[in-house]
Point group: C2
Chain length 853, copies 2
């Protein structure tokens, strides 16, 4: 027999707390996966999202086994006359009684925060005055225990409205008028707290927990603005909850449902099912056909038009559909979890990862990346219980990554558009919009003032191979070799070499490797064809230690009479100051380089090109080369008509704080290579830029004189589209708040004090902080130092627990952010790093002590 | 004074013509650009598309200068009670009178075709009986001349409904019930005819034509199905008309409008403006903000709710908005045309095209590609007047392209999704869904039976460089070199070379080039570092001539006692028959190869790998190598433990009719490289597959033993997503109708008779037709032959006029389609080619005659 034990409604005295206006970064979403959580979207407003939520809850709760159901309504307008959480609460209560449920049910409805007008309109609160707009704690709570036919453990329904506004308009308008906007991060933080504590707080046994489900119901349509003005599909994206889309069965509903579905996919969501109320138009037929049956489409009976109908009959007639829906959602959830769980093992069986000794990788060390949002990975973890957590991608996905969440969304739309408009279009002798726009932006940006032509290819290595071919042709032209070769096929081939710096890295294809000094990448067992076709100079480097910038001169460049003050700098700005051109050191560099270049004639070969990474040698260990040295070197080569190649694959596009590192050097090359960040870091594309005189050396009457190098996807439309968008985005102060007022450089991203502190840390040898890069070399000796070292492993594993994903270059580790990353996020990274360095050094001391004892 | 001169309504006796059910390919859209043509979309049904059309027409026609306005409604349901074209016709007539227009106006409304129920319900037609469902000619025509205040040339309004159905439901339902589906191609053909003849047929002076505009109004929402069931946004896509989106000003309208906008962008459309009727919700504010002001958003006054309102006051109060809209659309059109016109010159100034002698390219030879749809380019032409035309991309955008229009749309959605979900995610030690799915599909498809690992990189060249590194390590392992090198850094480095075939091509990076024989790509002026590290064998080739397949043996492989019947084949199947293994020729090949391999020891170097393109040497000139020879070669290398690399960059993924060319050879490699078609041809990605024993040779205790080669975008999410979709799409008979019943090969795409005929053509030396490839070598001598030859130029220019875009390999030309291209399209290509060959030969004969005379 049913008995209503308690039905109370009480209001806590509202406490008006004004939300901080400071933008705090969104918390790392740590989402439990022990039960399914779905987000309910509508293809339009008033398509019946709450009906579906209630129907699903009934199917879940009014069964024969105890279960829990958490229903969350983060954003409610039109409150209190409209309250979807109360609707669900009430319908379930009514259905409980109607269906004579077996198990008892504890049901509650809770409204957490509301606007002032809501507070004032809710009876029992009294009139609250507040001049400032804000959201207030409402704490409206209602619950009831419904006793079922059987005694014993019952079920539980928890309904929560997180934020309520009075006016029945779009949340962005209601918030604007009643409370001021609510920041996305604040909404997400509240949601996360409801998601993680909602079901656990109920104190049920472990057994019952396994039969739990959670629904998050959105407001309005998929792209309706939330209370900050962000579209809800963007607002909730960091959680990327699997979706249930409530479609539209009316005339026009096919279109609306498909478009809403596409909007969700275009945000990276997965839609588990589509459900809608029938209207006699069989909308499910074209919908299923369009979706190629990949998404189940369910049809509910028509919703009674009579608004006084209590819908009980409708729920009864919909029961089978909701039961099916429940099964679909449960099985999609378990399938997803199983897939995620099996991924590491499968990956270990089929992948051959680059730069990876597979023997050293354990299953549990494989990171399962569910998705990324802006600079963050969402990572699946299986540590007893499964959950999703967030890690800052401090590798910037291997030095390519740039977009914040907003640019990622823009790029998603652009990639869809470019594929639909162009797919791929072959390049030679053709022109199409994205290729032209991209080339013009490159010449007006990174090539400004010197470059006149853009040669597209696929990645840094191919860009370098092309650059070398360009340089050698230009050199041959300028030094009379071209004519000799052209007139006489039997003429002896002179041996051309490059001038390059030790520690440099230009890519992994043979031509790119030949231009770099011998290293662990170039041994016989790696590349038997490598010979090292260069004269490789040791460069002077600059680094920070103990808060000071030092100059480190290589052997052979340490004149006896140099003043000690030449060996350090008061600031990083001084390092890049052009005034150093008139210093004694400039003269010393110049003399040294003249000497080296004339010495190199002894090699019986010609130096056909200078190739170098301006300012920072990346893969070589994040070394900062003295910019004065590089500038003097460029001048010397230009004087001798040796074409100059800048390898800006790593350094280009704001990586070092300027659009090109050439700006930091204050000199221009003849040829420059760009890749990685050029597309915003989402798709491979590279460009070799060249001056007009380089281009001219390939002009002739025959095709055979043209540069006969190319790749099928040269200037592919997707890459050029992404590059054009990203190049503009990064340099526009409207979209990138890090751009300084002159538009020439990024503001300082790494907090100066924290950088100084870390550079003084006992575990740290040297630090380089420039632009988006913060690198440090751990003090290490013997096998702990160098590329193959595993020395930093324990440190990096700890940092992953802190939500920072790093990958070492041996004992050199780095944090790399995007050009748009907020400085306070960078500061958080540095703070966490510093804390873990403290632990690291004390552990090392421990282990050292135990070794000695 | 206004005077109604004529108002008549007459019906031609309807002639019931049953539409052909055979699918005819869509006509090449040849769209005039002399005046703007926009397509009007609604974010939902009943948002006021026709009101906007009428308002725009009024702004255009009721001005002080003569003008023409063409309004087209391709699909009308609910006819005759609903007729948007009559609505526009009537409202303009009423507004003409109300506003006391100066210039006279000839206005007409024409309904072309209708379903039988429409015919039967229209008075004056009598009852027509018809058992078969079909569309009938209705020919309902109405016009009137409205005389304005001034005499002289007037304006003209032409309204047309192309297809009308009676029931007021979605067109797919109405068609299903009343006429049967109408094929998309048929709708497009009618639309093209209306678009091209509509305004010209009016016979106005040239002057008046410059003030013309056309609107095409869709039915329902952007993704409402058309009369074939295809979504309208897909149906109209081949024309890619610029769009005007009528949004929704109601509650929920922000979401609906944004989603509809995204659906259009996801089809590659450009939206010139968004307009909607106000509802007091200021929906334009979040819309403009979301669109970052890139698309103008216009707001109309609220539409009167009273359905008896004649809307005259509303049109008056909307006048300014429609005037602004008109200006926006006109200026967007001229901006677009100007951009298109300037593109060739701009391209010539900034691009450096690969494989292109810029001196030989004239501005007018540059192809301006506006877009692609499936296998076709849409190309902008400026030949006196400007227009858009269609060209079949017979280069398959340089051998990469595979999608039909349906797959392109799917890929667009997938690329948006993958960008939104992942952007890019670094690969080493990580796993994410698309990379895993792609790797599993590769191992279960092209690598089935032999490969166990997938190494991802960016393009064919890098895949080859990786393959060579793998092979050399494996060889070193198997031949005792590995241990010697590992134990003793000072051990002499043996020289490793490849065994390869003359005429082969493996890419343009140095390592890939070193593995191919000297050619025009490898001279000193192209790549001074090239030395050719291989033993290069001349392979026997197979070709068709005069309808027969011939074997061509190289010098050194022509034994005296060979029977002449060994030198030709009855069919192509015989060429690939495994029974040939027991032929005399197999023995001859085997003896020859043993001899060559033992001879090669004289080079003082070791053959560390065999590398070859199975069956077809692509860039080398589309030569078919005798598969028996390649099979014998593979066996011999396996016997000698020389690792075998198949370069399937060109041949893989159905290019030659099977998923891999290895299937045609009936033997497996140790390592194979894939790229190009792998992603469906829209984005660069490559994979090097390896057997387990190759993988094992990199397993060790140190990272330094791992394969230290990688590119930042290894296994990038977009590429892997595209590859996974395309691999599945191409091999699934549901999505690719060319897949034969066993799922192992494509049906014959090139009509046998046509191929025979062309192979017998006097201009043709040889033909190869296999899978998606049809290649022919033109008879040419001296400088007309070879890679740098311009011999085929005039032929290919003519073919472009026929709508076929080809690019030569010197005197070798080819047609390449996608794995899903319909055979009848291939036949059309062959027919056009044959016709032009006839012209070509007679012109050659002419010029030869004039030379001799």
């Amino acid at each position: 027999m049913l008995r209503l034990r308690r039905s109370c409604q009480h209001f806590r005295q509202p406490f008006i707390k004004f939300l901080s206006t400071a933008v705090t970064p969104p918390p790392p979403p740590h989402l439990p996966l022990s039960h399914p959580t779905y987000i309910v979207w509508g293809s339009n407003t008033s398509v019946g999202k709450s009906l579906v939520s209630a129907g699903l809850a009934s199917s879940f709760l009014l069964s024969d086994s105890p279960s829990q159901f958490l229903y969350l309504k983060p954003i409610q307008t039109g409150f209190p006359s409209d309250s979807d959480s109360r609707f669900v609460f009430q319908k379930i209560s009514s259905l409980f009684q109607r269906r004579k449920a077996h198990l008892s049910l504890l049901a509650s409805d809770h409204v957490l925060k509301a606007s002032l007008p809501v507070l004032n309109s809710v009876s029992g609160c009294g009139i609250v005055n507040g001049n400032e707009l804000a959201m207030c704690d409402l704490g409206r709570y209602e619950d009831q225990l419904l006793v079922g036919q059987e005694s014993g453990i019952g079920s539980r329904l928890i309904c929560k409205t997180m934020y309520a506004w009075k006016e029945a308009v779009s949340p962005h308008l209601a918030a604007e008028r009643e409370s001021g906007p609510v920041d996305d991060a604040v909404v997400l933080q509240s949601l996360q707290s409801c998601l993680t504590t909602g079901l656990e707080a109920s104190g049920e046994s472990d057994d019952a927990k396994t039969k739990a489900m959670c629904l998050v119901e959105t407001a309005g349509g998929v792209a309706s603005p939330g209370p900050s003005g962000s579209l809800q599909c963007d607002l909730y994206r960091p959680f990327r909850l699997p979706c249930l889309l409530v479609g539209d069965g009316q005339l026009g509903g096919i279109s609306g449902t498909i478009s809403a579905y596409e909007t969700l996919k275009l945000r990276g969501y997965d839609v588990a099912a589509i459900i809608f109320a029938d209207n006699g138009l069989a909308n499910e037929v074209p919908l299923s056909s369009h979706l190629r049956n990949r998404v189940p489409v369910l049809v509910l009976p028509p919703i009674p038009a009579d608004i006084t109908d209590d819908l009980m009959d409708w729920f009864d007639s919909s029961r089978n559909v909701f039961d099916s829906l429940k099964e679909i959602l449960l099985s999609a959830h378990s399938k997803k979890i199983n897939n995620l769980r099996e991924m590491p093992k499968k990956a270990m069986n089929v992948f051959w990862w680059p730069f990876t000794q597979h023997k050293l990788v354990a299953d549990e060390a494989v990171t399962v990346i569910d998705s990324r949002c802006g600079e963050n990975f969402t990572v699946f973890k299986d540590q007893g219980s499964e959950f999703m957590t967030q890690q800052f991608d401090a590798c910037a996905s291997w030095w390519t990554q740039g977009p914040d969440a907003a640019l990622q969304t823009e790029l998603a739309s652009d990639m869809g558009y470019a594929t639909a408009r162009f797919g791929h279009v072959m390049f030679p002798e053709n022109v199409y919009e994205p290729a032209l726009e991209c080339a013009e932006l490159l010449l007006d940006g990174v090539g400004k003032g010197w470059a006149s032509r853009v040669y597209f290819s696929d990645n840094g290595s191919t860009a370098i191979e092309i650059a070398l071919k360009m340089a050698f042709r230009k050199f041959s032209f300028d030094h009379g070799i071209h004519d000799a070769q052209e007139c006489n096929a039997e003429a002896p081939r002179p041996e051309l070499m490059v001038l390059a710096l030790n520690g440099s890295y230009h890519g992994d294809t043979l031509g790119a490797m030949e231009a770099q000094a011998p290293s662990c990448y170039t041994g016989f067992l790696q590349q038997p064809w490598y010979s090292g076709r260069g004269v490789f100079l040791d460069p002077p480097t600059v680094y920070m230690h103990g808060g000071k910038w030092y100059l480190s001169l290589p052997v052979g460049l340490q004149p006896e009479n140099m003043m000690p003050e030449s060996l350090f700098f008061c600031s990083r700005n001084e390092v890049f100051d052009e005034k150093r051109d008139s210093s004694d050191l400039a003269g010393i560099y110049s003399a040294y380089l003249s000497q080296q270049l004339s010495d190199s004639s002894k090699f019986n070969s010609l130096l056909g090109a200078l190739i170098m990474e301006p300012v920072i040698q990346g893969a070589g260990g994040m070394h900062m080369v003295d910019p004065l040295f590089q500038r003097v070197l460029v001048k010397e080569c230009k004087r001798q008509k040796i074409p100059v190649i800048f390898d800006e694959v790593f350094t280009g596009f704001w990586r070092l704080g300027c659009e090109t590192a050439a700006e930091l050097l204050h000199c221009a090359p003849d040829i420059a290579c760009f890749a990685k960040l050029m597309t915003g870091g989402i798709i491979p594309l590279s460009a070799t830029l060249a001056s007009n005189s380089v281009f001219e050396s390939f002009i002739g009457d025959s095709k055979l004189e043209a540069l006969l190098h190319g790749h099928s996807y040269s200037a592919h439309a997707l890459g050029c589209t992404a590059a054009a968008k990203s190049i503009k985005w990064f340099k526009n102060p409207q979209t990138n708040q890090n751009i300084n007022s002159e538009g020439k450089s990024l503001r300082e991203l790494w907090d100066e004090n924290l950088v100084h502190l870390i550079s003084s840390h006992p575990a740290v040898n040297r630090v380089v902080a420039l632009g988006t890069l913060f690198a440090l070399e751990l003090k290490a000796y013997g096998p702990d130092a160098g590329y193959a070292s595993q020395y930093s492993r324990s440190l990096l594993l700890k940092l992953r627990e802190d939500g920072i994903y790093m990958r070492p270059l041996g004992n050199v580790i780095y944090l790399m952010c995007g050009p748009c990353t907020k400085p306070d996020i960078c500061s958080q990274l540095l703070i966490k790093l510093r804390t873990r360095l403290d632990e690291f050094i004390s552990e090392s001391a421990e282990s050292l002590k135990s070794c000695h004892s």
